[in-house]
């Protein structure tokens, strides 16, 4: 990983769409928690900053089962804020470049390197898999031109690498923070996020597919 990058893993949400009243990183997928999967995939990241809110204590304890050298960042106002707030809080006292990463996103292990080590600033997306996603429109080089709730070429999966100085406090979403900085380089990966029970089942299949 190039020097001076921090990864901000956002795990503060209530997981409301999944309907389990449990923050998503604590759900079990194929024998271990989603957090355990994330920590395995991000094991080479030196400055890992995990944003916690809902069920913070339980998330902290789960992380400590695997790794101690992370920085936990509190988003105490998690109920009234969205992912942009967590990304801002996680990035503001970290390294010069921040990579934002949603706790509910699983990236294929062979594509992790692209997410972490591509040059400069970039937005990561994947093939469309869900109807209720945020989509990106891209140009012929794959660079991201815009975000849309309605339609686009790819699904925006979440990871983004950006200079932290460009991030301003927001109570909104990460993609709202990025809109003023487009166009940005695009990086395509294989990934699955977990918003609904249907996504959860797909995530299980996704993980089993790379373990074969």
């Amino acid at each position: 990983m190039p020097p001076a990058r921090s990864v901000v893993l956002s795990c503060a949400g209530t997981g409301s769409r999944l309907g389990l009243a449990q923050t998503k990183v604590l759900i079990e997928i194929d024998g271990k928690s989603l957090m355990a999967w994330q920590l395995e995939l991000l094991k080479d990241v030196e400055d890992l900053r995990i944003v916690v809110g809902y069920q913070a204590d339980a998330v902290v304890k789960e992380v400590l089962n695997y790794r101690k050298d992370v920085t936990f960042v509190y988003n105490h106002n998690y109920f009234n804020t969205k992912t942009g707030t967590s990304f801002y809080l996680g990035a503001k006292d970290g390294n010069d470049y921040a990579i934002g990463w949603d706790g509910d996103l699983i990236v294929h292990p062979d594509d992790i390197d692209k997410c972490l080590n591509s040059k400069g600033e970039y937005i990561v997306y994947s093939d469309r898999m869900s109807d209720e996603a945020v989509f990106v429109r891209t140009d012929e080089n794959g660079d991201v031109l815009s975000f849309s709730r309605e339609d686009g070429d790819y699904e925006w999966t979440g990871p983004v690498c950006i200079k932290k100085d460009k991030l301003k406090y927001t109570s909104g979403n990460v993609f709202n923070m990025l809109e003023g900085h487009l166009p940005m380089k695009g990086v395509k990966v294989r990934a699955q996020d977990i918003d609904t029970y249907d996504d959860y089942q797909k995530a299980v299949e996704f993980i089993r597919s790379w373990k074969k």
């Binding site: 913070a56 936990f72 509190y74």
Partner: protein
């Protein structure tokens, strides 16, 4: 400018200092229960401190001071303080006459509780440090204040600080601390990395 204010017991030292005293003088059980209950916030700090000083105050002050001077410290935290001596401050509720030699060893500015000493014993408590007043003092001079602590008596100071770091190096921090902390860190390297980013 940034001012880093550190709690002492359990944040810079690897263990609480009062139990060390109690262990040396064989009054461990009484102090251990009270220390645990105080850290967890079940006994108000001031009340607990007065009681603990009442129990320990008859012990020879110079022996305690020599004992605590040998306390086991977190080396990377000490290294950070040594490199940034002018920017670092220790705020401890502990008695200055007990921790003076330890503080000399660390070498940065320190605020502590005070007492009068007679015949090598604590005679009277004269000042119990409230750490939030120290934070207020530095903030009033325009400093950005970073507070690093873990016990219940750190929580008001952490609420007032610009950046507050709950340290889990020795104990899992008190709930009151976690409810106001910006960061929670369990590893010395990660703590020092974060401190370096806060100038």
């Amino acid at each position: 400018m940034t001012k880093f204010i550190f709690d002492l017991d359990g944040t810079i030292t690897r263990s609480e200092t009062l139990p060390l005293i109690a262990s040396r003088f064989n009054i461990r059980d009484e102090i251990a229960v009270m220390t645990r209950e105080t850290i967890n916030g079940n006994i108000p700090f001031v009340e607990s401190f007065i009681k603990r000083v009442h129990i320990l105050g008859n012990l020879p002050v110079d022996e305690i001071s020599y004992l605590l001077a040998e306390a086991n410290l977190y080396p990377r935290v000490i290294d950070f303080i040594e490199k940034n001596k002018e920017d670092c401050v220790i705020a401890t509720g502990n008695l200055m006459c007990w921790v003076d030699k330890l503080l000399n060893r660390i070498g940065c500015r320190c605020h502590a509780s005070e007492c009068t000493v007679e015949d090598n014993k604590v005679k009277k408590l004269t000042h119990i440090l409230q750490k939030e007043n120290i934070v207020r003092e530095y903030r009033n001079t325009g400093e950005k204040v970073v507070f690093i602590g873990e016990g219940n008596n750190d929580s008001e100071a952490m609420r007032l600080a610009d950046v507050s770091i709950a340290s889990g190096l020795t104990h899992y921090p008190a709930k009151s601390v976690l409810s106001v902390a910006d960061y929670l860190i369990f590893d010395e390297g990660a703590l020092c990395r974060q401190l370096d980013r806060l100038f």
